[in-house]
């Protein structure tokens, strides 16, 4: 026995120690569970008092928590090592999906593996930042031109496959997840602005390649009253729901827009409109603060990350989460065109919940596997 060590009294094990041992970040866990629980209440109302739907969502949440805990156990080094393999697998599945995937609402997004039916694009949401972060980890930073070129290729390939499904919203998120990693890697501002400008210039070209329904969404976004009973109906009804909610809302379960079926997709993509209607501006702002807290915690974890991979991955995941929130709320309140992005942790739906929680599991892994560095 070392006498120097022996002099230290062994401290009582605390709760935080316990969670640290279990690789759980308490802040993140509490925030996520708080948001998800509030989400269950909202869902109960938005679904028209459907206990079954709430139970199903709670089940999915449970599954998500389990996935999160599992993901938290694996050390970040494992993720780094497996990143490119994971990326490759996800890309392969996307390709398979395009070839033999299930059709739903005119888009081929689902892959049926018999026991499991899921969207490979959700896997890519995790694989993309992981792969870019792992790639950049091995390169000199700020990235040189060649590195950026390779990164672009890594981003573009799956994005193209997802666009082909077609799923503009997810493709956008996947592109952003990769781009965030590049951004945090220190890609030069000059290039960032250059590319943004180039994309803006290429927008007309992109426009010509869009599907009719995608164009319709953009047109509707620009002028929702253009066709209030058709394409603009979603956004018009959603604005009515939110606007009529006022400062304090109509009260939980008292939202007429959702309960009388005027608000379409009220339990999925447009659930934020139910929040705005039933708990008003104050409730909506509170929720946004909670989301911001999650993002902030993610960025803190990123800053504390111990190597380039951890930092880039954690920061990308956090910002992607923010992007989810921003796009969904922006769409529901009429600031952005309607793209199929759910409100994270609250919208009813399976795959996105699990992939989100997996992402948070990775964040926790990064945070709880820190080693004391010798200076």
């Amino acid at each position: 026995m070392n006498p120097f060590v022996a002099t230290r009294t062994k401290p009582e094990p605390t709760w935080s120690d316990f969670f640290a041992q279990a690789h759980v970040d308490l802040w993140l866990a509490l925030l996520l569970i708080l948001i998800a629980s509030l989400g269950l209440f909202v869902l109960y109302s938005a679904s028209g008092h459907s206990g079954a739907m709430v139970a199903s969502q709670a089940q999915r949440l449970g599954l998500g928590v389990v996935v999160m805990l599992l993901c938290a156990q694996a050390p970040p080094e494992l993720y780094r090592a497996a990143a490119l393999w994971f990326y490759g697998a996800a890309a392969f599945l996307l390709l398979v999906t395009l070839l033999i995937g299930d059709d739903a609402k005119g888009a081929v997004r689902w892959l049926d593996l018999g026991i499991l039916r899921f969207q490979p694009s959700e896997l890519m949401k995790l694989a993309m930042p992981m792969a870019i972060a792992a790639f950049l980890h091995q390169r000199q930073l700020p990235p040189r031109l060649g590195t950026v070129g390779w990164t672009f290729l890594l981003i573009a390939l799956p994005a193209a496959l997802i666009m082909k499904q077609p799923d503009l919203g997810t493709a956008l998120l996947v592109v952003c997840a990769g781009a965030f990693a590049l951004y945090f890697g220190g890609w030069s501002w000059r290039w960032i602005f250059g590319v943004v400008a180039a994309v803006a210039a290429a927008a007309p070209l992109l426009w010509s390649r869009l599907h009719d329904y995608q164009r319709g969404r953009v047109l509707t976004f620009l002028d929702p009253e253009r066709d209030p009973l058709g394409a603009g109906y979603h956004i018009t009804q959603s604005k009515i729901a939110i606007g009529s909610g006022g400062l304090f809302g109509k009260g939980w379960m008292h939202g007429t827009q959702a309960h009388l079926d005027f608000l379409p997709e009220s339990h999925t993509d447009f659930i934020f409109a139910v929040i705005g209607e039933e708990v008003g501006l104050l409730g909506a702002l509170l929720l946004m603060v909670l989301y911001l807290a999650v993002v902030a915690r993610g960025l803190v974890i990123a800053i504390r990350g111990q190597d380039t991979f951890q930092r880039l991955l954690a920061a990308s995941l956090s910002l992607t989460f923010f992007l989810y929130v921003f796009i969904n709320i922006g769409m529901v309140i009429g600031l952005l065109p309607v793209v199929g992005v759910p409100l994270p942790l609250i919208s009813f739906g399976g795959t996105s919940m699990v992939s989100l929680m997996a992402g948070f599991g990775i964040l926790m892994s990064i945070h709880t596997h820190r080693k004391l560095l010798s200076s």
């Binding site: 091995q138 700020p142 400062l247």
Partner: protein, 626 residues
């Protein structure tokens, strides 16, 4: 540790990363602030607007249109009722493909070309959100055919409705009028809100003039609906009230009698109760089937009715303006007596013609060979023109106009039916104003025998007869006897409205004029002796024959009526009241192109008066009333 670590500047890389996090955080905060400000805009600044939009979404005003009031005659006989029926209706804005829908409906519902024409015409005039009737009065088979296939026809529906049914049909079509589909023009005339859910509105007759009473009050219900429009609960209910029942002064039996008495002739019969001004019968022939208009008339049928040379849509009793002819003579006599221009015993020699002093133009008596010596009684009884040329000349146009206007001539009587014409009682002032000419004495002569510019409606003739019967007293003619509230069975009588009495210098003169009129029907030389001879009561009357074809100065003898084409034959007129000493009924009869008043018009008046005054063997009124 990776092999690249060696060439990585970890410190600088971390600094760059931190900077990027700071910039990223700032951008996130800005974006969140954008969202928040948008939320404030929607939920605070535009809150009121969106609250209204939200309420508009979920609240539907359901209207409960009132049931139209019924129309009864004076004895409670039903004249207009609401019969249940089914109508096939199309709401244009809810039909995806109208042409296709119409094509597919054809085998299910018996649709004629007229139905389509009518539908398209109404489609144009109706707002897109209102139902347009395609076919009324569906048969049970048609209802069943539709019900089986109804899921194939969005925007098409069968609506039970109450169809207006007029029990007297064409016989009273001009009095009662009809209701028809509301047009945009109609809506502009009424409070549009009160007519939500109402599809019909009174177009003519009592249906139009008493629309306010008959229509009733709209009930409303505000319901909360879901997005599919299904009502979920009632938020507000305002009770309406059914239309009030209208009791007419009309006697249905008398109306039918008068209509039948006219026979094949076109013309008008107006019967008034002198003591109240109640219209007992008001016939204009030919009539028309009011139901054509209730169902919504198609343009072909309408054009046919409108272009018909006998003008069935024209209400002769109120709108037909005819010279009063000799029927004016008792009144002219009264004017002469009252002004002192003549006396009852004053004699005048009728040679069959009359010339104005200082002129050689001949004014002829209808009796070419002359009546010989005439006094007032004989002049009225035999309708001597020469006697009244002289009377009119003595009176002068100003005194004639002044006196006769007291009887309501030259202006509408104020009957509570739409469209009444005023006629024309000419005066010096009128001629100057309208014709920009002076009045000539020869024109006064023509006025003296009820010709010339002089125009009256049959209603005015009946009313002036009633005033004579009442010795100058009188009431405004009216068609509404009472208004009943079907909810509490309270019937409110409409009181007769007395008119200012016509004062004579000597009230005895009334009897003088009436005696003369009695001679017309009860003295062997009277022009209407044939109807007074065997009457069960005493009556006072006057015939009139109005020339339609102008008589040229050179024609010594008028052509025989039988030789003239029908549209040039004389109009036959007759006015009368009875019983003479207790007047119960005053009648004016106009029979167009029927020859003389004594032969054609007087018997019609007799039938009407008989029907009213002579009690029938067994009174059917009570039976009919229920």
């Amino acid at each position: 540790m990776s092999s690249y670590d060696a060439i990585k500047n970890l410190h600088e890389e971390k600094q760059t990363f931190l900077a990027r996090v700071v910039v990223g955080t700032t951008v996130c905060m800005l974006l969140i602030l954008t969202l928040a400000s948008r939320l404030v805009h929607l939920q605070v600044l535009q809150h009121d607007y969106f609250s209204v939009r939200s309420d508009e979404n979920r609240m539907r005003l359901q209207v409960i249109p009132p049931v139209r009031g019924l129309i009864y005659d004076r004895h409670g006989t039903l004249l207009a009722q609401n019969a249940p029926s089914f109508v096939l209706e199309i709401v244009p804005e809810k039909v995806p493909d109208l042409e296709d829908t119409l094509r597919r409906l054809t085998p299910l519902i018996h649709l004629t070309e007229k139905d389509f024409t009518r539908f398209r015409e109404r489609l144009r005039k109706t707002p897109k959100y209102r139902g347009v009737p395609l076919k009324p009065n569906l048969s049970p088979e048609e209802v069943a055919n539709y019900q089986i296939n109804r899921y194939d026809f969005p925007g098409v529906d069968i609506r039970p409705e109450l169809t207006r049914h007029y029990l007297l049909g064409a016989s009273a079509s001009h009095v009662i009028g009809y209701i028809g589909g509301i047009t945009e023009d109609d809506l502009a005339q009424v409070d549009e809100k009160a007519y939500r859910g109402t599809n019909y509105i009174g177009k003519t007759g009592v249906e139009k003039s008493h629309e306010d009473e008959l229509h009733g009050m709209l009930g409303t219900m505000i319901v909360e609906t879901n997005a599919a429009g299904r009502p979920l609960r009632e938020l507000d209910y305002r009770r309406g009230a059914p239309g009030r029942d209208v009791y007419l002064t009309l006697d249905a039996d008398l109306q039918l009698t008068a209509e039948q008495a006219l026979g094949e002739r076109n013309g008008a019969v107006v019967a008034i109760a002198p003591k109240t001004g109640e219209i007992l019968a008001l016939v204009s022939k030919p009539g028309f089937d009011p139901h054509l208009f209730v169902e919504g008339i198609d343009s072909i049928t309408y054009k046919a009715l409108n272009d018909d040379s006998t003008r069935p849509l024209f209400n002769r009793a109120l709108q037909g303006q005819y010279s009063p002819g000799s029927t004016i003579k008792p009144f002219m006599a009264l004017a002469g007596l009252d002004s002192g221009a003549i006396s009852a015993e004053h004699g005048e020699l009728c040679t069959g013609e009359f010339t104005l002093p200082g002129s050689d133009r001949k004014y002829r008596c209808w009796q070419r060979k002359g009546h010989g010596w005439m006094n007032l009684d004989r002049a009225v009884a035999q309708s001597c023109d020469v006697y009244f040329y002289q009377t009119a000349l003595s009176l002068g146009i100003d005194r004639i106009h002044g006196f006769l206007s007291q009887f309501g001539l030259g202006r509408s009587t104020g009957l509570d039916l739409p469209g009444e014409k005023a006629g024309l009682l000419p005066s010096r002032e009128w001629k100057r104003r309208v014709r920009r000419e002076n009045w000539y004495p020869g024109e006064t002569l023509n006025i003296g025998i009820g010709q010339g510019y002089f125009l009256t409606t049959p209603l005015q003739l009946a009313q002036m007869t009633a005033r004579m019967a009442m010795r100058g007293q009188g009431f405004r003619p009216h068609i509404i006897h009472a208004v009943g509230d079907p909810e509490n069975n309270v019937v409110t009588a409409v009181p007769p409205e007395p008119l200012p009495a016509i004062g004579l210098h000597d009230p005895q003169l009334w009897q003088r004029a009436i005696d003369a009129m009695e001679q017309v029907t009860h003295s062997p030389g009277g022009t209407a002796f044939r109807i007074g001879r065997d009457a069960a009561y005493r009556m006072a009357g006057k015939t009139g024959t109005v020339q339609v074809a102008g008589l040229s100065q050179d024609e010594a003898v008028a052509p025989k009526q039988e030789d003239l084409p029908e549209h040039l034959r004389d109009h036959a007129l007759f006015i009368a009241f009875a019983p003479t000493d207790d007047p119960q009924i005053a009648v004016a009869v106009l029979a167009e192109h029927s020859g003389s008043g004594s032969a054609a018009a007087a018997p019609i008046a007799r039938k009407v008066m008989d029907a009213f005054l002579v009690p029938p063997p067994s009174p059917p009124a009570e039976v009919v009333a229920q």
